[in-house]
Symmetry: C2
Subunit: 145 residues, 2 copies
DNA sequence: AGATTTAGTTATCAAATGATAATTAAGAGG
DNA sequence: CCTCTTAATTATCATTTGATAACTAAATCT
């Protein structure tokens, strides 16, 4: 199979995913946090608990900056830091109750945009989408190691 | 079908796409441009010609900021601006030769990371991925209007 | 025990970004 | 012709971000 053609498809696909994600998340981000902070909260929400190191890997940031942003989120009472009892250098980050509330609200907004978007889809379409997501997630967008 | 479950899948899927995209594009961005500028160049590369308005819609920026960033890219000779002959308020943005060269190099880097990632995939897998991308792109990540 | 690595913090500074207001110029509609 | 809207620009300022250096503390290695 032509891997080059597949790559070109992937490029325009990821561009589409980014664009649509932007559209879906429009107005979902609360004003009191920055885009970077929102991205971090989203990562925490999806895969909590999470360590600061994991955050800076996924978000492509440096430790000092991750630390700073986590402090800001902590000051805003949106996250909590838990010390690892085994390895006392490590921390685990979770959403606080307030953080959960904020993210639930954001996800609800995103979901309503999503529902509008798939409004016209048939049962058949939905099934196909679900299977396609599963395939791509396991075969292409799997975690690195 | 449970649209709510599909939505949850979509959330973790888009998170994965973002994370993997980050990994693939690591080291691909030339140092002389910022992340935002790179995103803009990528959009131009994928769907040129493009108007400044389209850019600020897709990138979720404001017109003044889009204009500023395009000026910076123009000063760096990475893009060219072409006036619409019909509607003289409009512009079309394209990559300059230098811009094309830079983006080709970036895409080559990304492609090599991509090839590493799908190294273990069988013919069958590749075909499935391609079909899945097609399905999602037409049924879910289609352009808005 | 001493050296090295790992996880995270603090401080600092330049640069990039976001947001807003004011402006120009060209279309579009009445 | 006049008003309204659209496309884009310029200028400005506060904030956010990125990058780097120096540091603490705990774990691991030898």
């Amino acid at each position: 199979m032509d891997k080059n053609a597949l790559f070109n498809k992937l490029v325009s696909f990821t561009t589409s995913v980014h664009r649509v994600t932007n559209e879906l998340t429009k107005n979902a981000k609360p004003d009191l946090i920055s885009q970077v902070q929102y991205n971090i909260l989203e990562q925490i929400a999806v895969s909590q608990p999470v360590t600061p190191s994991e955050i800076n890997d996924c978000q492509n940031m440096s430790m000092p900056n991750t630390s700073r942003e986590l402090n800001k989120l902590n000051e805003k009472n949106l996250i909590i830091k838990i010390n690892d009892s085994q390895d006392r250098r490590k921390q685990y980050i979770r959403l606080s109750q307030e953080g959960e509330a904020i993210m639930n609200k954001a996800f609800a907004t995103i979901e309503s945009h999503f529902l509008e978007r798939i409004q016209g889809a048939s049962e058949e379409d939905l099934k196909e989408m679900e299977q396609s997501i599963d395939i791509l997630q396991t075969k292409l967008f799997y975690p690195n190691e």
